[in-house]
Point group: C3
Chain length 139, copies 3
Amino acid sequence: MKSYRKELWLEVPTRRAFVNITPQVEESLRESGVKEGFALVNSTHVTAAVFIDDDETGLYRHYEKWLEHLAPVVPTDPNDDDVIGEDIIDAHMKRLLMGREVVVAVTDGRLDFGHWENIFYGEFDGGRKKRVLVKIIGE
Amino acid sequence: MKSYRKELWLEVPTRRAFVNITPQVEESLRESGVKEGFALVNSTHVTAAVFIDDDETGLYRHYEKWLEHLAPVVPTDPNDDDVIGEDIIDAHMKRLLMGREVVVAVTDGRLDFGHWENIFYGEFDGGRKKRVLVKIIGE
Amino acid sequence: MKSYRKELWLEVPTRRAFVNITPQVEESLRESGVKEGFALVNSTHVTAAVFIDDDETGLYRHYEKWLEHLAPVVPTDPNDDDVIGEDIIDAHMKRLLMGREVVVAVTDGRLDFGHWENIFYGEFDGGRKKRVLVKIIGE
């Protein structure tokens, strides 16, 4: 069994953004030499997501509003000792909705994808360097 | 390491539906000959989901309403150049909530499931043939 | 290829709770002897979740309220034959939002985690013994 590991580093200048990382994952897969197996791609940060969707700008503009509606900023209570920062809680919730990881089949040395499938990184607390892990196992 | 791949084709006549695909995945697993490993089952379409839940009709009637509440149809703005179709955006969002894929343990040649676990296909933009990928690796 | 399987049993006395199960998964990994591969951790119950997040009490207090808001208790209709129990449907929906499973990379015999990553069990219908499955494959 072959095993391959690579870290992808992303630095999004804005607080929130969606970035198509399919080319970097495809490059990792070529480097791995794996022809048949699984590729795991996950955020190592709990305020960022990795998910699969269409590469369509209009979609992501709607996701911005939708996620703000479903997981809005949580106001902090000044009498609460155990507050972890008001603009952090919503980032955790948005990432939970979008997902931490994807597992993709590898077939004939390629990501075994449907026509519209792309791997996206979803940033909900940007402005600093963050890390995505690619781990590929197979033969 | 063994590796097995199969495409399941589904054609749901209605716009939305939930279909139990456990028997087809079990059949794929038998064909694979894998006794110990992982089975990945994913939608290859970005407007359909694969997830695990109880096979209970009452549940899915509630999910219909619940998903419509959390991810309603997005009205298009006629002044917006970048519109991708109003009844497509909600299908993407519903699928994001339900999930693209499941990874199931394979033990002794069987899906290593709890008593109520079943694999479901969730269609949110039906009326045409769509494809689910089953990829199994192991020994 | 090595393959390892372990059941973790949890009994949460309350209806809902979040439990950090990272130590038990790390112990399973040591027992497996796997150095490079994937670890799958999944709930075998359809009313409980397994997900990855920060081990921060303040966060989980907010998740309680947030999940109740997004997936509230569904009142039963007494004229409906096909009712599966009013306080069960919301448990299913909460678990769908939080996720059934996580797949974690194994590198050098350790869970290949970011600094704040912990594996949590989310119980939404507690008061009885429930089972989490750990399956590890690799070399």
